[in-house]
Amino acid sequence: MRKVFDFHGGVHPLENKHQSVRTAIADAGIPPELVIPLSQHIGAPSNPVVGVGDHVRKGQVIAEALGFVSVPKHAPSSGTILAIEERLIAHPSGHSAPCIVIATDGKDEWAPLPDTRPYESLDKAELLELIRHAGIAGMGGAGFPSAVKLSVKAGITIDTLIINGTECEPYITADDMLMRERSDRIIEGAKILHHLIAPGETVIGVEDNKPEGIAALRKAAEGSGIEIASFPTKYPSGGEKQLIEILTGKQVPSGGLPSDVGVVCQNLGSAVAIYEAVVEGKPLISRITTVTGEAVNEPQNFEVLIGTPVSYLLQKAGYEPSKNDRLIMGGPMMGVTVRDPSVPVVKTTNCLLAPTPQELPVPPPAQACIRCGMCAEACPASLLPQQLFWFAQGKEFEKLEHHNLFDCIECGACSYACPSSIPLVQYYRASKADILHQRKEQEKAEHARLRFETRQQRLEQAEADKEAKRAARKKAAEARAKSAVDDGNGEDPIQAAIARAQAKKAAQQGGGNESEQEKLEKTVVAARKRLDTASKKLEEAKVDGSDLVDALQSGVDKTRAKLDAAEKALAALGEAHAAVAPESEPTDAAQAAIQRAMAAREAEAALSPAEEAKADLEKLEQRLEKTRSKLAQSQASAGEEKVIEALTSTVQRLEQKVEAAQQALSETS
């Protein structure tokens, strides 16, 4: 017998399992319409590959996986695609999501199944691909894609592979019935998983309230080396973390993965699905769902096609809507209420619970917390729910995090135990959402700040560049003017003006091009770098099967797109540049201007202070002269008042300057 460990806390709600195990698993049949949500699991939704009006056959892929943490969807039966549209799905907030709707034709015609090979001859990658392709996602709980969970990071040894057959939620018997009726498939699936993971041991964990199931499993497992471990019934022993503690005595580090303590977990239903995918080549298109509660006349388990409307399934079990005021998808501890029975059964729908109001009464209004600590005694995560409640009421997010709110698995044991019937879990969910929202806002703000800062920097840089250019131009112009004066004859002023203008244009163009090109080059380099790190991270994440894979994948895609765009732009710019280059006149002109400027500067440097002063004076006098003549001209031609005014003031200013220059000259000489 295996040594099993206890975990802290836990509660013993009424099991209510006997109602739904009296008859064998029934076939729910083919509903007239199947609604397949594109996202039934954690991770990216899948991408439809069929169009409205297409005929599909059973098992045919109708939506393919997008990204690593995503699984394809298959047609659960043959028929015609009726629509691809938003439909209501079962979700805590009761919202709708994109779904593929199939009008079934009742023929249930299979698409050709792929050839299968004995699993022993398949390597890890091939097996994972088969599992992924069959659309298998965790069939209890959050519905994490199985292939991701099974991709263990290289170099990590797995001591224990755990198949979770605990089914600790009251009322649900889907796994129990699987064990009783299909234990061979479970064991075969477990063998495939064993082959895939190559762990030290493979254990199927079952609560001791399912003796028939345990016996059936033990019989099927004979000689396979797979161990069946049973342990005392206590909610929530089926929580992954709790089950790991029960079977290994180890705790998964906060924020870590089971593989950190050498464990991989799979759901019992997933093991069967894996068997069917690998051995029979069948994708996951149906599951076992318990339909129970006092508002159904024949509580039992059904084999249901994914996408079957809840209302259809309920009716098969003799549902009496008049007796029912609360329809729960899942169990009474963690299930989600459904307000519209048209929502479809999905891969994670292990139970439909239709209780009467007497059976599961609405909790009385919450009373004051008397700090009795019963919640803390019940909490499997060893939290202090009453403190969390206190902080949640006060919206003290920091304290909530300090008290490890995020280690709460929302099992509901605390609310169950609370004598004041305080809806504790509701507070925690809201607080978690608030904190995540706040974090996101903070990140956004940080992002915006960074963006602002880089922009600011860029603007400053541009400003500085402009300033420098302006200074250079000014100097060049001055020098040119000077050299013209010095040379005495100088160039033809018109020619010079044209050359100047050209030079300016060239400088601007060249400068502009250059900075743009530089920018693009920088972008390309940065994007490449980012892509590299992101890809690396993605690889790592893929290997450890982290839930980040998806986010990373989309990040990588985006970066790649950016990089492409930048590269293209860069290439285009280069071409444009090349096209401009042949008619190199402007460039030459600019070159000449620069040379001239340099020459002028040299000449200037050669002048003595007196000569310099003299040159200045001359220059000023010349300008004065010119301005005066202009002024006279415009006065004569009765030019615009404004122009005359401006010219007058310039003349005055120049006169002052000439005076100052004369004085300076007299001082130097």
């Binding site: 805590p92 906060s254 609360r326 009474p332 009373q367 060893s382 809806p423």
Partner: protein, 341 residues
């Protein structure tokens, strides 16, 4: 029926605050019966009158605070406070003493702080200590036990409550007083010479304590509270009294058994320090909380000025409870150290 939206969990356990409070009330019954047997109807009358007053004050406070009166009265917490305070009061207390005590407990200690769940101090003990300080004479005169004096009848007891001036009861020092004042006799001689002492503790008191112990054990079995605080308190008291027993000399602080079965030991251990609102919450915290109360009780009993010490010890530790909680956070699943990642 229209389907409603509710958040999980949808199942709820059988525990309810009323039920918890009701169990506490039921568990006090053996102790009350024994008290009545040995000391007469005084305590019973205290409780009857005190309950009425407490409910009235509670209703008044709820009305003033604009809360639904029926809903909050039905949590029975006011009745529990009334029972506990009235058990602690000397039998045959006059009505004004009881009323003052209830006002202090319900209005001051409970509703001024925001009502049930928000009171940092045990309301019954706040009421008790305020009375003890304000009316030391009335609060320290305890009725003589059956066997040493005749116990008054029921009508006489009612008279004692409402017409205190006309009542002339026989009061005596309690065994704890006698032991504290003793400086000349060996414990053995004290026991044989003073009729106030019974087989193990005070005459009558030993049975009162045993009755409250029984009630307390039943509450633990009913999972109303955990064993941690009471057992830690009793263990500490036993340890200290054994340590300073001094072989039963005249300077002895009294034997462990005497301490366990005298005064309000068991009543305090199972009915006062287990008040969830004002005590430490985590299990380790409760161990510390209980142990420190045990130590304080011993010190105050042997060294302090007041004969019994439960009320003071509890109020002092009420102060400390939040700090104890802060430092005894349990280690969360998947974290290596308490309170850390």
């Amino acid at each position: 029926m229209a389907l409603m939206r509710l958040s999980s969990p949808h199942a709820h356990g059988p525990a309810s605050t009323q039920r918890v409070m009701l169990k506490v009330l039921v568990a006090t019954v053996p102790g009350i019966l024994i008290l009545t047997w040995f000391f007469g109807y005084g305590t019973l009358v205290n409780i009857l009158f005190g309950s009425v007053i407490a409910l009235a004050f509670e209703a008044l406070a709820l009305k003033l605070r604009g809360r639904p009166i029926g809903f909050y009265l039905s949590d029975l917490s006011a009745l529990v406070t009334a029972f506990l305070l009235c058990i602690a009061l000397p039998p045959y207390s006059p009505w004004w003493l009881i009323a003052t005590g209830m006002a202090s407990a319900i209005l001051l200690a409970k509703h001024f702080y925001g009502g049930l769940g928000y009171n940092p101090f045990n309301p019954a003990m706040v009421g008790y200590v305020i009375l003890l300080i304000s009316f030391p004479v009335q609060m320290t005169s305890w009725a003589a036990p059956r066997g040493l004096a005749a116990t008054p009848g029921f009508l006489e007891s009612v008279q004692a409550c409402f017409l205190p001036a006309t009542f002339d009861g026989i009061t005596m020092a309690t065994p704890l007083d006698v032991l504290k004042q003793n400086s000349s006799l060996l414990i053995e001689d004290l026991w044989s010479q003073n009729p106030l002492f019974g087989r193990w503790g005070g005459l009558g008191w030993e049975w009162v304590n045993i009755a409250f112990l029984a009630g307390g054990l039943w509450l633990i079995q009913q999972r109303v509270f955990t064993w941690h605080a009471p057992i830690a308190m009793l263990a500490t008291l036993t340890l200290l009294s054994a340590l300073f027993y001094d072989g039963g000399s005249s300077a002895s602080g009294g034997s462990p058994l005497f301490h366990l079965l005298s005064g309000a030991t068991m009543f305090g251990a199972f009915f006062i320090i287990t008040d969830p609102v004002s005590s430490a919450v985590s299990l380790r915290g409760r161990l510390i909380y209980g142990a420190l109360i045990g130590a304080l009780i011993y010190i105050i009993r042997v060294r302090g000025n007041y004969p019994d010490a439960v009320a003071f010890a509890v109020l002092i530790m009420n102060f400390a409870a939040p700090f104890i909680d802060y430092y005894t956070q349990p280690r969360t699943y998947g974290h290596s150290k308490r309170g850390e990642q």
